[in-house]
């Protein structure tokens, strides 16, 4: 079902207004922009007034202004007229049927008495037109837009992200789903059949006291069975609570466990900084040694080099002779006897000694001295050759250490900042203790559940035996056959309904999970975060992380939760067959700036398969939002204003 227009006359701020919602694009997307107090929320109230005769979006309905428009009331008073008709008309389409929902209230302008409203539904089919009034009209609305689940058609965007709060009572969701899936009809039929069976048994008991006793026995056993079932429900609820609490606390603790990891990292980083600083200290000592060493070598390098080259040159041209004493040679010549071997010197030897004496220009003492320093000088010159490589090694190491220390210090700053965001140790201890308590409770309740379930099986067997005994007794007395037939038939019928009820309940829940996840996956911008959805028996929704498999609904942003609520609603429409429009008041009120574009895109996607009417305040409908909701994707856009502060009108821009 989609709305094609809403006409409002003399209702609150609306004197006479008609808003049309024609689908002229692929998207069935319509936007209303109205300031607070202009009538945006009262448009939602007008829809509710028309369809359900109430206004759930008033702040305080006991203290609210009359439904009748003030100007219309004053004009009627001035003209001497008694009544003003307050009318809201919704034009809608349901498949090929054209519908008009019309509610009129005859407002007494003189006494301000509102009186009863008159509601009519006009259905225009190809085969003809039907007009429904009173209960029939209400029933028609309830068939397509059931009152109990109207919050799944007409939303207050401000409340969307609260749909899955862990403390939220989900009973209305379960009830609504059971109602729209018509499981409630089966449940009610089953209960009424049981009432019939009980009545038939009581009737049989009138004929024989034994039957009465057996009937009492059966009822007692049924009561015991029901009490055990209630116990099982309570234990299951406690188990679910413990599981939820454990998941929640594990979330907190794992954050703190991260803190411990960060703290460990920080300690490691600090240790490495200390080690590197120590290496840096050692390097500084080596640097000083290097400076000392090369300061001397470099300072004496030039002179050492000259001496070394001088010695080398002398040696090369033979001026640095082997170890010959010139004085000894001269004495040998004078005495003609060799001073070393004491033999006579021949003429040839004399000539050779003279030649040696002429060649040697340095005294032996000098020669010896030069030979003595030669190694030291050469070594000093040689050691300077290592200067560049030694210098490079030391400076490279210094640079490397400095860079490593800088990187580690930045990491330490970052880790300290992250660590500063965590709670104190007392809270962590409290959470760990609380989690341990719930883990123990869960273990205890799981054991208890097993034992209760065994007891329930035994109780069911007792009920069956008691039923058999009772049926035999009924059959044994005079009026028994007919009654027994009825009891058996009704029991058979009740069992069939019970089976259908259980099967559909499970199927609907599974379908809701699948459909919600399918829509959510299509709309969500984080494609690799969320894995699957589960709905517990009481329709508590859990969203699991794709990789860790942990429950993560609470850690999502408000816009992600709002999107999940939207996905859940769309799934609900599909599963229930109530595939109607969605009207959302302040759709992005809770959506953070960074996610607005994505959320807007999700809404545009939804409007491709469903009528979507969005009511914004001008500040909410910012230039940024307008970039997403461009005219090309909108089927209609209207601005409401109330220049006179009493009557709202449409401004077309």
């Amino acid at each position: 079902m989609r709305f094609s227009a809403i006409s409002i006359k003399n209702y609150r701020q609306y004197r006479d207004i008609k808003v049309e919602f024609k689908q002229v694009k692929d998207t069935d997307l319509h936007i209303i922009v109205a300031s607070n107090g202009v009538g945006k929320t009262n448009l939602l109230n007008a829809i509710n007034f028309c369809l359900y005769d109430d206004e759930p979006h008033l702040n305080d309905d006991k203290d609210s202004l009359p439904k009748c428009n003030n100007t219309a009331r004053n004009e009627a008073r001035r003209a001497g007229e008694t009544y003003v008709d307050v009318t809201v008309t919704i034009h809608a389409e349901n498949g090929s049927d054209k519908l008009i929902f019309d509610r009129t209230l005859h407002y007494n302008a003189k006494t301000d008495f509102e009186g009863e409203s008159i509601f009519k539904v006009t259905i225009m089919r190809a085969s003809g037109t039907d007009i429904l009034e009173g209960e029939q009209a209400d029933e028609y609305v309830n068939t397509y837009l059931p009152k109990k689940i109207r919050e799944y058609f007409f939303f207050d965007g401000e409340r969307l992200d609260k749909y899955f709060d862990k403390d939220k009572n989900t009973a209305p969701i379960k009830d609504s789903i059971h109602e729209i899936a018509q499981i409630n009809i089966i449940t009610s039929g089953r209960k009424h059949l049981q009432a019939i069976i009980d009545e038939l048994r009581r009737e049989a008991a009138k004929y024989a006291p034994d039957i009465e006793r057996l009937e009492r026995q059966l009822q007692e056993r049924i009561k015991a069975q029901e009490a055990k079932e209630t116990d099982i429900d309570s234990v299951n609820a406690a188990i679910r609570t413990s599981k939820d609490k454990i998941a929640e606390l594990t979330g907190y603790i794992s954050n703190q466990e991260n803190a411990a990891i960060i703290d460990k990292d920080l300690n490691e980083v600090n240790t490495r900084i200390v080690n590197l600083r120590s290496q840096e200290g050692e390097l500084n000592i080596r640097m000083l040694e290097f400076i000392r060493k090369y300061y001397q070598l470099l300072a004496t390098y030039d002179i050492n080099k000259v001496v070394s080259e001088y010695i080398d040159a002398k040696a090369k041209n033979g001026q640095l002779p082997p170890d010959i004493d010139i004085g000894l040679l001269r004495r040998s010549l004078e005495s003609h006897v060799c001073a070393v071997c004491e033999q006579d010197i021949t003429n040839n030897s004399e000539e050779h000694i003279n030649h040696l004496i002429q060649r040697i220009t340095i005294s032996s003492a000098v020669s010896n001295k030069l030979m003595e320093v030669k190694n030291d000088v050469n070594e000093a010159v040689g050691r300077v050759q290592d200067y560049q490589s030694d210098k490079k090694e030391l400076f490279d190491k210094q640079k490397r250490l400095k860079s490593e220390i800088e990187a580690l210090e930045s990491r330490a700053v970052e880790l300290r900042k992250r660590l500063a965001g965590y709670s104190d140790v007392t809270s962590i201890t409290k959470w760990v203790n609380e989690r341990t308590e719930h883990q123990e409770l869960l273990e205890k309740n799981t054991k208890k559940l097993g034992s209760y379930e065994e007891q329930l099986i035994a109780l069911k067997e007792e009920v069956n035996r008691a039923e058999e005994e009772l049926n035999k007794a009924i059959a044994a007395q005079g009026h028994g056959d007919e009654l027994l037939e009825k009891i058996k038939f009704a029991s058979e019928a009740k069992d069939i309904l019970e089976q259908i009820e259980q099967e559909i309940t499970t199927e609907v829940r599974r379908r809701m999970e699948t459909e919600t996840m399918e829509v959510f996956e299509r709309l969500i911008w984080k494609k690799n975060t969320y894995g699957n959805i589960s709905l517990s028996e009481d329709y508590k929704l859990r969203l699991y992380h794709k990789i860790t498999g942990e429950s993560c609904l609470g850690s999502g942003s408000a816009s992600e939760r709002e999107l999940l609520a939207l996905a859940f609603t769309i799934a609900l429409h599909k599963v229930s067959g109530h595939d109607a429009l969605l009207f959302i008041d302040t759709p992005v009120g809770r959506v953070s700036d960074v996610n607005r574009e994505k959320f807007a895109q999700a809404l545009i996607d939804v409007s491709k398969s469903k009528q979507l009417i969005l009511a914004f305040t001008p500040s909410e409908f910012s230039s940024e939002i307008q970039e997403y909701f461009r005219d090309e994707v909108l089927s209609s856009k209207v601005y409401f204003s109330n220049p006179s502060e009493e009557t709202t009108q449409i401004e077309r821009k």
């Binding site: 009809i185 089966i186 009424h192 059949l193 309904l497 559909i504 229930s576």
Partner: protein
């Protein structure tokens, strides 16, 4: 018959070959849906269904 077609399908499945039971349960569900008083309707419909069953079995 119902908004939720699954109910119809399940009902057909569970009462296969037992038309009186099926029509009785359809009556139960319609009565519940309309919110009408169930007691007299169920009793009379049950009697009818039992009678039809007997006729079908040739018991009377």
């Amino acid at each position: 018959m119902f908004q939720n077609q699954i109910i119809d399908e399940k009902l057909q499945d569970k009462t296969k070959g037992d038309a009186p039971m099926r029509s009785f349960l359809e009556c139960v569900l319609n009565t519940e849906k309309s919110g009408k008083n169930y007691k007299n309707t169920y009793k009379s419909e049950m009697e009818k269904a039992i009678k039809i069953r007997k006729l079908e079995k040739g018991d009377c």
